[in-house]
Amino acid sequence: MGSDCVIETHELGKNYGRFEAVHALNLRVSRQQITGFLGRNGAGKSTTIKMLLGMTHPTAGTGRVLGRSITDSVENREMRREVAYVGEDKQLYAYMTVEQLIRFTRSFYPDWQNDVAQHLRKQYQLPQNRKVRALSKGMRTKLALLLALARKPALLILDEPTEGLDPVSIEELLHALVAAASEGMTVFFSSHQISEVERIADRVCIIDHGRLVADLSLDQMRQDYRRITLGFATQPPANEFKIHGVQQVKIVGRQVIVLARENSDVVVECAHSLGAVSVDVAPIGLRDVFLETVKEET
């Protein structure tokens, strides 16, 4: 495994009976970046994360997190010392108070940083003697984040972290993730909220029907991905645009809409040579890339 990868899977798969939740997943997550794991509901995001953490056993393939095998129970346990996880439902032990849960969690991590925990508890305004069951979902998320960040993990994995949160809590959470990454932590988070991923992620992996369908840097996407709308006087030639880097070609009447992940210049040249009467090149956002990629797979 390359030292710049904190997560690397090879042909990872998980079947539940005949249902293929994850299929031949080759995932790579780079160190000290924020990577968004984007996919529709039921695309296989949570199953992948659970396999990475040893909660679910893969039915095929292998994987390594921080250089340790995810299928070896001893290595996986050692890996979990350096990985923090915030689950989708953010449920914590309802019968403990905030302080008791902090003390409980602290006992498993020798590198626990009390000052960080105290600072975050004050910042998040978590009442230390309140039972977890009496906390709102937003407060529970903050507590889960505190428990994750106070141990200074090398890798922070979050499954749908903003799910069910109000806009203020979402904002605070996204700020916390950016701050964590700026301190050298690798953040890997799943979401189906494209705008959130686009705002904070350096890189995006898109999963659909259990398959990895895209893995791209957002800077690269902003720089290279283009939607090229071409107008023709007569019926346009679709096959002429099957150029390297073209992800999709769609014909609407006398218009050809080309989605290119690179080589947009070549597409424009080709359009001119074919007698296009209008050429419009526009940058595209993650939403378009995601929708086109997922639609294509469907």
């Binding site: 659970k50 909660m55 056993h57 129970s73 979990r80 689950g87 914590l92 019968y95 403990m96």
Partner: protein, 243 residues
Amino acid sequence: MLCYKAWRESQTRFVLSALTIAGLCVLFVLFQNEARTGFDGGPPTYVGYIWRIVYKGYVRELYVLLVLLLGVGGLVRERAYGTAGFTLALPVSRWRLVAARAVIGLSQAAILSLLPALVIPVLSPFVQESYPWTQAIQFSLLWTVGGTLVFAMAFLASVIFGGEYSAPVVAFVVLLVYSAIADMPMLDRFDIHDMMSGTGTPYFRLDASLITGPLPWMAIAVILLVSCCMFVLAGRITQAQDF
């Protein structure tokens, strides 16, 4: 800290169980004069009364049910509450999670079995009676052995069945089936109900309501071994489960 977690999860059930058993023992001792008159064939001796109502009767049956409820819980239940992810992300093995819960549960079952031995001999002088400590302690030991098997049944059922009621119901059904099978002549020495009360066993004298012979160490060893196998099986199932 895993033991602390296991304790906190079962704390309410355990405290309520302890209060119930201790409370009933207190009531049965303090109101022994009234209660003893209600038996067929005339009032029994105080020792006979305690045996019939506590060690053979209601309190023992209640103990079995309460221990069965103490065995319910674990990771499958946590999945329903949504906390399994948090627990499994801790850097500990699933074996340790299972072991911590088993140790705490068995300790609680043992403490519950000791309560009659603490309450009855201490309170008896207040009603001008006495109950031998040695008898009480021996019954506690036998209850602990029986409780271990009942706890192991509920523990194993909880690893397999995640529903709030399904695990205790399944464990209860298994207990009934076991009780029916253990009533068969060749297996009756492994019947925990008889073992716990001494009924029909060579070490118990019915006319005196006292344990007089050596305890059935072989049967105790077999029951503890079977319980141990059930805990190991529960651990192996947990190890292979997806959450």
